[in-house]
Amino acid sequence: MKRRELLAAGLLGGFGLAAGGARPARAQAQATIRFLTPETDPSQVRVWQELIQGFAGVNRTVTIRPEYASWDDLVRKISADLIAGAPPEIVAGSSRTGFMASAARRNLLVDLAPLVDELGRDDFHKPSLEAWHYNGIQAAIPYGMQWPVLWCRTDLFQEAGLALPTTWDEYRAAAERLTNPSRGIYGACFPAGRTWNTEIQSSITIWAAGGHIFDERLNVSLDTPEVRRAMTYYAEMCRFSPPDIGQYGFREASAAYTSGKSATTFYWGRVLSHLYQQAPDLLQKTKTVHIPHGGKRATSLGWDEFVVYRGRNSRAALEYVKYLMQPRQVYMMMEPVIAHVVPTRNSVLPMLRQHEWVQKNPDIVTTLIEPIDFGISATKESPNHPFNYKWDAFQARNILPDMVQRIVLGREPVALAVEKAHKEAVEATRDIRQ
């Protein structure tokens, strides 16, 4: 009997302690902000930590908790958090315009227009702000913009007596000449993994051939001569790419170049920091050119941006975004990956141009930081296209990477693979309503 009473008393005591113990903790509670980003280079992570510490110095009631995900897994991570009812308060750098547009439509995002006004709307690159304006709200604040270029090993081009390519035909001829498997060197680096990188690269190839993925009425337009031509070219270039491109995403495409295995690669400016960190001897042997064109010049235009999800700590999250968007902080974010991202705030540009890497490597950075007029966003394939609200559903099904894999790895005839992709895209977007 005594033992039973003791047990019961212990249980009651335990509950009491738990209930009572929670009270003082609640009294001291701070707002904790989850900050999710795919920018996970060690140098970039160091900057995130510095910024968090800097913010802690000016705001003691908000704690920032950084979380990291790969570029390919970012949206999946956000999706899982949304299902759990606990999205991160801030997402930094995703460029998933379709996904964000869906989130804006469902009222999951905080309108950042007042913050843009507070920061000074005139200081921003206007088209970048407009690209993130959905459903009547400023769904994100882009702090940087970027486009891929072609990274070339000038020593290998010179050795083969080749000029850097500007057209598809020149590039194909150069890639074939430069490919030498016995030396472990490949002329090109066209990805064929089921990855976002493959999707972007195949999109660029389609646009450069004069094709579109959706027409101006947002009907799928994959099964066209332009797309078949683009995919034929893509498959040819894969022959001059490393043997394991079937797994290539962003990291592998950059590593193939910095490791000296690939004489060229499509990539954004981040390769510059990779070269400084991993292969400084290649800096003097590298030059970038804009992506060679087929029928027309085209490249993919993307952004790094802050998105704030609705939640009880949204106000505190806005405070942190405001802190991050100050010119000095924006410059800090760009410093580890100079030339990878061009600031959308005009007031940051002079700082960027003073950077040692920019001054020392004009052959590399010019194509990366000088504004272009042939950048295309997947959700708006031409000035005549409306915002593509179907892109999210199309992208989620990996239709372009699957098409590339069928052609490159499965040796399926281009016409058949394109026709299948077209049908899949029609099926995937049939029930999508604005």
Binding site: A8, P242, G246, G410
Partner: protein, 318 residues
């Protein structure tokens, strides 16, 4: 006193003590006395309900909805997701891949694991050290295992390709995980390597308790090594192997991380197992209902496998 009378007396005594307790300490004390056992069981029961029954029920419930990740309310579609599933070629393809994946990994783990356990059962110098080292793959985190094997398999700087090319066995590096023909076996090999120690440890433990006089008797009867292995060793470890086969089948059929991290289900869906298809539906295309429907089918498939196993056990004589 007859047994019935004794029970009646006890009941009367109980009633009396209840009444006495009410008189002495009030209703609360009496309740506490009578229901303490139930109260003490409640935390376990609640934990079971919250962690097992609720997620399972919620998963089944979700499978009756068309539910987008950004629209968790969803639309009731009844058995619509199951109709879609059974008419979907990708589902049948993934079911086939999952079956082959589980079959190949479990089969190889059992055959190789038993062989290694038999070796480690023999006396030799440094046996304890080797027994410890064999556990190494099982102790490594899956992410580390995958990273190591991705490097080993790498076409440009992987050791395997380097050795194959340097020794002239192949002319050019093989894209082990990017080629639809080799990716499946590349992944199976890692699955076997990682979980082999589980089988080794269990079989070795069973081998150590087989009575030695059985072998002596067999020797006296003139049984050779093969006969002794088949009639004594295999017979003695049979039950353990069945349990191992069941556990490993459940585990490998549900295994997600090895395949996902190595190939993501590719290339060309050559390694698209059912758990990856669930993930793809839920977090790739954001169709939670369809993802749940596949998970529910997987659950019932494994229940079916377990039923076969238990039916088999029941038929076995002691």
């Amino acid at each position: 006193m007859a047994p019935n009378e004794a029970e009646a007396a006890l009941a009367r005594e109980g009633g009396a003590s209840w009444r006495a307790a009410r008189r002495a300490g009030g209703l609360l004390a009496a309740l506490r006395d009578q229901h303490l056992g139930v109260i003490l069981l409640l935390p376990s029961a609640l934990t079971f309900l919250v962690l097992l029954v609720f997620p399972l029920g919620y998963g089944i419930w979700t499978s009756f909805f068309q539910r987008h990740v950004l629209d968790p309310e969803g639309v009731w579609v009844g058995l619509g997701n199951y109709v879609w599933l059974f008419g979907n070629r990708e589902f049948w393809h993934s079911l086939t891949i999952s079956t082959f994946w589980a079959g190949a990994t479990v089969g190889l783990q059992i055959v190789l694991g038993t062989a290694v356990a038999l070796l480690l059962h023999q006396p030799f110098k440094g046996r304890s050290l080797v027994r410890g080292l064999v556990l190494f793959p099982y102790m490594m985190p899956v992410v580390s295992v995958v990273l190591v094997w991705m490097l080993l398999y790498n076409a440009l700087y992987g050791v395997i390709n380097y050795l194959l090319v340097a020794s002239g066995i192949v002319g050019a590096p093989i894209a082990w995980l990017s080629d639809p023909d080799s990716a499946f076996w590349g992944v199976v090999f890692v699955g076997v390597w990682k979980y082999l120690p589980f089988v080794v440890v269990i079989v070795l433990a069973r081998l150590q308790v087989i009575p030695q006089d059985l072998y002596e008797a067999a020797r006296i009867d003139g049984a050779g090594a093969v006969a002794r292995f088949l009639d004594i060793t295999l017979h003695q470890i049979k039950d353990v192997l069945l349990v191992v086969a069941l556990l490993r089948t459940i585990f490998m059929f549900n295994n997600f991380e090895i395949v996902f991290l190595l190939t993501g289900g590719g290339p060309l869906r050559a390694t698209m197992t059912l758990p990856i298809l669930v993930y793809e539906q839920a977090f790739g295309t954001y169709e939670l209902g369809r993802g749940s429907a596949i998970a529910v089918v997987m659950f019932f498939l494994l229940i079916a496998v377990m039923s076969v196993y238990f039916a088999f056990l029941r038929k076995e004589p002691d």
